[in-house]
Symmetry: C2
DNA sequence: CGTAGACTTGAGGCTCGTCAATTGCCGTGG
DNA sequence: CCACGGCAATTGACGAGCCTCAAGTCTACG
């Protein structure tokens, strides 16, 4: 049930058997959310912490004029909202990109297992720090990279993250994001994302089939994006054994 | 010495006398860094954690083509790098915006006091979550707001944060950022920042004197920026008594 | 089949960037 | 005291990158 989480935390901390058992024993409700439906909406009062078990989830903020910015893409093993227990109400929403399974965990349980195991406490903290590192890299992209490079950078990031989860098939991966959603990640319009993807295809860097992304030249993508995977490498830990 | 930190953590957690004492007893070196010099440079091996005691510090990333993006502005009481002890080497730099005093703390000390006090552990965690919330709001700004609104939003954020630190004088504040630095925060060029500041002045929203920002119409600024201070209000806690 | 949603493509326009020159402010030194 | 150099702020002209609007295609699905 929570193997995704155990696997993720294992890559950044040396969990004892007791730690793993504590994670495995986490009581939780399971919830399934169909694609394109909110997992949590802005304004909701969060009571339980959401953990992604299967599928993709996006964190987003909608401004008054209707434009949307996606501020995180969450994959299996990622927490949606370790932080929101501090907030009165959600200041942003979370939407399912694919059909999704999430676990709902009581915050008290997390407080308990982290107060019992310093290793676990540190592991959770590291998970937060990893989220922050990704957020920083997104800010750099949106603030200072060209449209083409932003998209290349996103592809590189997903390539690394999905690789750690064992979700690559021959270096390629399923990409459930629509072009509008990609646009909302990188701060562009879907029209321009479309044009930039065409550029990448014409350049022989990628190939696309519906819902599928084929990486033809990862080196060129990384160079184009000025991709520095230090933030992911060291935070995600060594590559898992196959 | 570390009152800034104690004050900050007090606003988000109910610290016991022992907690305050533990914070006050933190052994540390003091370091002074003159304006426009790096506090830590990209590539450095971080050994101690930096805590800002006085002045402004900026976190930044420089891309290969030389452009810079500032990813955080740190004020007194903020940690520079709670996270970097996990990294092999800094993947970004920290630069002093003003003359700055920072405390250097051994990570082991933090581990120790947080393992002794669950309250403190939570307080440190919350501090990280606050950084993340600000980062998210910056991403939304840079990704989806107009140039004018981005700058207005930054002014609103600084207004709230400085207010909590008691660094406002009659609703106005000292702004040590150059226009180039503002540009690096909001993802624009200094030329365009200059034009937008002129717009804000012409609109009667702000007034400027060298190094000083006068807020003439905070309501208009907030409306223009679509400023939602939920993320800061609840995370920074109730307004301190005067 | 018929509809809805995503993708695709083109034409034209606006925001913001680039380049360049000028001003003003300081601190420094003759 | 004034000349000088450096840096930030300011302004204009021009151009580019990205957005807007709009139409059309493709696919999935009822």
């Amino acid at each position: 049930m929570t193997e995704a989480l155990i696997r993720k935390l294992s890559t950044i901390a040396d969990l004892s058997e007791a730690d793993r058992a504590a994670l495995g024993d986490l009581k939780h409700y399971m919830r399934e959310v169909p694609a394109r439906r909110d997992v949590i909406s802005e304004g909701d009062k969060p009571v339980r912490v959401h953990l992604v078990l299967e599928g993709w989830v996006a964190r987003y903020k909608v401004l008054r004029n209707g434009v949307r910015q996606i501020t995180a893409i969450l994959l299996p093993g990622d927490f949606c909202d370790l932080h929101v227990t501090i907030l009165d109400a959600m200041d942003h929403g979370m939407v399912a990109i694919t059909n999704v399974k999430v676990a709902l965990i009581q915050p008290e349980q997390l407080v308990e297992i982290t107060s019992r195991s310093a290793t676990l406490a540190q592991a959770f903290w590291w998970a937060t720090l990893l989220d922050e590192a990704i957020l920083r890299s997104w800010l750099v992209s949106v603030g200072r990279r060209s449209a083409e490079a932003r998209i290349a950078h996103l592809i590189c990031e997903l390539h690394v993250r999905l690789s750690r989860l064992g979700l690559l098939t021959g270096g390629n991966f399923a990409l459930p994001l629509t072009q509008q959603e990609i646009a909302d990640v990188v701060g562009l319009t879907s029209v321009h994302v479309n044009r930039m993807l065409r550029l990448l295809r014409k350049g022989g860097l990628i190939e696309q089939r519906p819902g599928q992304m084929y990486i033809l030249d990862i080196g060129a993508l990384r160079r184009l994006a000025d991709f520095d995977d230090n933030y992911l490498h060291t935070l995600l830990g060594p590559k898992p054994k196959p």
